[in-house]
Symmetry: C2
Subunit: 459 residues, 2 copies
């Protein structure tokens, strides 16, 4: 394996050439070049022999005519022109090439596919992503070869999660959804037919990448099962890997095969492989990123005993039900903690949930959190706040400063509501706590956090 | 049982008196009176002997001094004054009284509780909700006795779902969340200590209520198990009842007992009762309303065979996985349908998912939906649309007119994304389809729809 260093030119190239640029709005060759103009790189070259100027920039007639050596080439040409162009890129000494063009093995095509395979085999110094892919996005320097119109998508915030998607369209849809969330994305990659760079190479790269704290992926099947397992096992000891597996059942495995041509493999086999490799399996799209953001922000718990703190009895009870359904445990507070809580918050209903009642103030929450976080019987805190109640004041939320309260155990704040509640939740997030509106999703994610912690202890 | 007619004055009173109004902003007696000023009723009376004017309106010194007979009384007084006031309401011939005040059995209080019980027993012509409750909201005429500050909550849209919540605070939080959703609320009731009106009475009332199409509830336990079962069994044959049960496990049952004083009962017993009574059990808060809105808008399916239509392969596969996980079946299209699809949409990948591919247009969706809905092998349609793809145009969405396409089977549209996608989803909703962004939630809700359909056939 040559990665991870050899993949760096895909994500942080100094120079990029787009081969097959277009002046016609709506064309893939137009959108890619337009998007790349925003990238923080030294030089961007347009190549199209039909034009002298493309989108206001000089257009070169060929790869050979570019005045300097280029690191990354992006090919957006009809499939018949791809092998010859790829060869020219390789001859010109490019370190990385992304082939966006489709019309190869995914349609049953054989001749061109074979020619590309041969070129890749003979020129290992050039790494290739694709063909039939949307390419990569580095959210930190705006290097972006995905060809979705920006008017139809929002860009996610900058963050520490990186995302690999076997399906380009699904990946784009998810990035657009992530843009509406509190967390951010570092890098994204979709690798299409995986003729050279595959999911294992990307895992390895993100495993070494400093910007990536947590690796998420949508995967229908691995190109090389053994390589994937070996890489995942190594990487998961350094960083959490969370995967949503598409095609989990006999019927859907077939659909996956006709979608990306990959052998999805039986659900049982994958589950066993994932478990052994320390991969966290997400149940669906929502789950995937909720687990990821908890793993990004929260420390690992020592065990699975959860204490709930609430100002709403019913809200506490439905959350406790979710804790048990997700095979976590309800913590039992120590005698010392109970004594202290009785003294400091005499009206509270002490138990699990610890119910501070409807007239609780942020000051009561501070006292409760401070006591509970010190309790050796508690591994994880879920803090529920009904912000609609009048004693909870916006100006007090900043007092829930996590660092000052010395909360070094995983602690998640949940609340459901409209804009008013969302405003308060943002303040809580600023105070250092991870917020996940729905307790169900928090419980599911915390279960995985506890299991990953257990895996790391054993391995 | 005297319901449902006797509960009408709670929700549609001609005249209302608030006993214990206040001029001090933030007080419960202030907020309730302020909220009720917006109600569409003939006359609203303020009662407080300490003031002559309250919030710009004449204040009466006593119930006796009101110049006309009043239908609904709302008591917001310290607990010691409640029995005497309730007696005066009954003597004045009120048909309904809501006691907002707390400080009775829920705190272990006995004397006042007994006095109230005695008055209820002797005066069956006056129905009582409470004490220790937030009361009711009729979203259609703005009769609203809940005392949450409107600056902290949004009002849900008008709709056909009614909601019963044993927990007032949880109920308010959910109503606030519903305000951010596409669906609306008809009526809401929280009944506190249930000394007279209980969950069964409310079920019966909503069962007869013309504005209510689907009944939702958060319940920790029934006051009278047999009455609840008998009522639910009768009502569920007319309208769907969906309940989120709080306190489902041994540990949380205890917490529920100390919250509303109700015997939550073992999870096993409740599950059996729910099933026999045709009650749909929701797994969590999100689930509760997603099931409800599908049951409100969609026809009942004949079976559980689901056909997926998509323009994204990966999105189709993750949805198919959810269909199987929720014990629904993937439909197998008839030969006739396959032949027609091959002719009309030759590029499509025909199967389940039926993948119209990334360059599909709304016209392709129309063809696919029209063929699939006629297929006798299909009971339910899930339509996935990646709106980010450039061939899907906003101006075409109205062509997905459900009535014109003659889709008389349950059909749900899913898509995930930011504001752009949400705008398109709203157009789809206007065209007559139910939209539920996450396929996971759609699959969970459709499972319950299929099961309810089966229950109705058997009963």
């Amino acid at each position: 394996m040559q990665t991870p260093k050899t993949l760096e030119p895909f994500f942080s190239p100094k120079t990029v050439a787009v081969i097959g640029v277009s002046n016609k709005k709506g064309k893939v060759g137009y959108t890619i070049f337009e998007n790349l103009k925003k990238a923080k790189i030294k030089k961007l070259f347009a190549i199209n022999p039909k034009h002298k100027i493309v989108q206001g920039k000089k257009s070169y007639p060929s790869i050979q005519s570019i005045p300097q050596k280029t690191e990354l080439g992006v090919i957006v040409l009809p499939s018949v022109l791809v092998p010859k162009t790829l060869e020219e890129c390789m001859k010109a000494g490019m370190k990385a090439v992304i082939i966006i063009s489709a019309g190869f093995s995914e349609t049953g095509e054989k001749k061109l596919t074979k020619e590309i395979a041969e070129l890749i085999r003979k020129n290992p110094q050039t790494r290739v992503i694709g063909p039939n892919c949307v390419g990569i996005t580095n959210n930190m320097n705006n290097v972006d070869t995905t060809f979705f119109e920006k008017s139809r998508m929002k860009q996610p915030k900058k963050g520490n999660l990186s995302f690999i998607s076997q399906s380009g369209a699904l990946g784009a849809m998810i990035l657009d959804w992530v843009a509406t969330q509190e967390f951010g994305i570092n890098k994204f990659a979709s690798y299409g037919n995986a003729m050279d760079v595959d999911e294992a190479d990307l895992l390895e790269y993100f495993g070494e990448d400093k910007g990536t704290k947590v690796i998420t992926a949508y995967l229908e099947g691995a190109r090389d099962g053994k390589k994937f397992f070996k890489t995942a096992k190594k990487v998961s000891k350094k960083k959490p890997i969370i995967i949503l597996k598409g095609g989990k059942h006999e019927e859907t495995t077939k659909a996956a095969a006709s979608h990306t041509g990959s052998l999805a493999g039986s659900s049982k086999v994958y589950e066993a492989v994932f478990k052994q490799a320390g991969i966290i399996e997400a149940n669906d799209l929502l789950d995937l990123f909720n687990i990821a953001r908890i793993l990004e922000k929260e420390p690992l718990p020592k065990g699975n005993r959860v204490q709930i703190i609430t100002n709403g009895g019913g809200f506490g009870i439905v959350t406790a039900d979710q804790i048990i359904q997700n095979k976590l445990e309800l913590a039992k507070l120590s005698k010392k903690t109970i004594k202290q809580l009785k003294k400091e918050i005499p009206n509270a209903n002490i138990g699990n949930p610890l119910d501070l009642l409807g007239d609780a103030t942020i000051s009561d929450y501070k006292k409760a959190i401070t006591s509970v976080t010190k309790d050796p019987n508690v591994d994880i805190l879920i803090i529920l706040i009904l912000f609609n109640l009048p004693t909870i004041r916006l100006e007090h939320i900043k007092e829930l400063n996590r660092a000052k309260l010395k909360v070094s155990k995983p602690a998640v704040v949940c609340s459901i509501g409209s804009g008013f509640t969302k405003k308060y939740l943002r303040k809580v997030e600023n105070a250092g706590f991870t917020t996940i509106p729905y307790p169900t999703l928090a419980a599911q994610a915390l279960k995985e956090l506890a299991q990953y912690s257990k895996f790391l202890k054993k391995n």
